[in-house]
């Protein structure tokens, strides 16, 4: 059961994280004009990197959720928020 849930969660997180990153870069009034001024190649590179990063973060996040037995148990919102922030920071530029 947990394997199927794990796969569902992994796929869903991949899509949500990708959409959030795309929305941030293309949907932010301060970033979008600069993005569209980039060369086609740079835009393609960023899009590929967003896809790769979404997979990387979702895999890491779901592995952490599994390790903490959060697939079976129901963590509090605070526990989830803290874990998500920790994983996101791990994949950010600031590290």
């Amino acid at each position: 059961m947990t394997d199927d849930l794990e796969n569902t969660m992994r796929k869903l997180y991949r899509n949500v994280i990708r959409d959030l990153l795309v929305s941030e870069i293309l949907g932010h009034k301060d970033l979008a004009p600069d993005y569209f001024a980039l060369s086609g190649k740079k835009q393609d590179d960023i899009e590929k990197e967003i896809d790769a990063k979404s997979v990387e973060i979702s895999d890491d996040l779901v592995s952490e959720l599994k390790q903490r037995e959060f697939l079976e148990k129901q963590p509090s919102d605070k526990e989830l928020q803290d874990l998500i922030k920790e994983v996101m920071r791990r994949h950010g530029a600031g590290k």
Partner: protein
């Protein structure tokens, strides 16, 4: 990616000082740094944006609910052998969604119809932007 321009991420994240600073940093990297750094900097913005973190918390709850719903619908399909009946039953009961045997369009329609019930079952409250991100993710996950 151009078709996804519709939302206003600045409105979604608000105008907190820390987020504004991180967006400025992301803007600096866009033209001058490699894609790897641009995206990592964009991740930093998500990590400090409360609405983004809330969306990711909601995604956890939604995925658990969607898993239960799709499992039930798959069992329904295995019994009836009819994807349309499985989806119709899903819509009627609002908690049974066909997965692999139905077209993505049908899955999408079912998600749209059942979304408020799925949210209720998951115990989450979302705004319009989060609804768009989460329903799109659920459709892509199941479709």
């Amino acid at each position: 990616m151009g078709s996804r321009r519709g939302c206003d991420f600045a409105v979604f994240t608000g105008r907190g000082g820390q987020v504004t600073e991180a967006i400025l940093q992301a803007r600096k990297t866009l033209s001058s740094k490699p894609a790897r750094i641009v995206v990592a900097t964009a991740v930093d913005v998500l990590a400090i944006s409360n609405p983004s973190i809330a969306t990711l918390v909601a995604a956890y709850k939604i995925s658990k609910t969607v898993y239960q719903v799709s499992k039930a619908a798959t069992e329904n399909y295995e019994k009836t052998g009819d994807p349309k009946k499985a989806v119709a039953a899903g819509v009627k009961q609002a908690l049974k969604i066909g997965v692999s045997e139905v077209t993505s369009q049908t899955v999408g329609t079912t998600i749209d119809i059942s979304w408020s019930v799925i949210k209720g079952a998951a115990g989450i409250t979302t705004n319009e932007f989060q609804d768009r991100v989460l329903t799109s993710a659920v459709k892509n996950t199941l479709g």
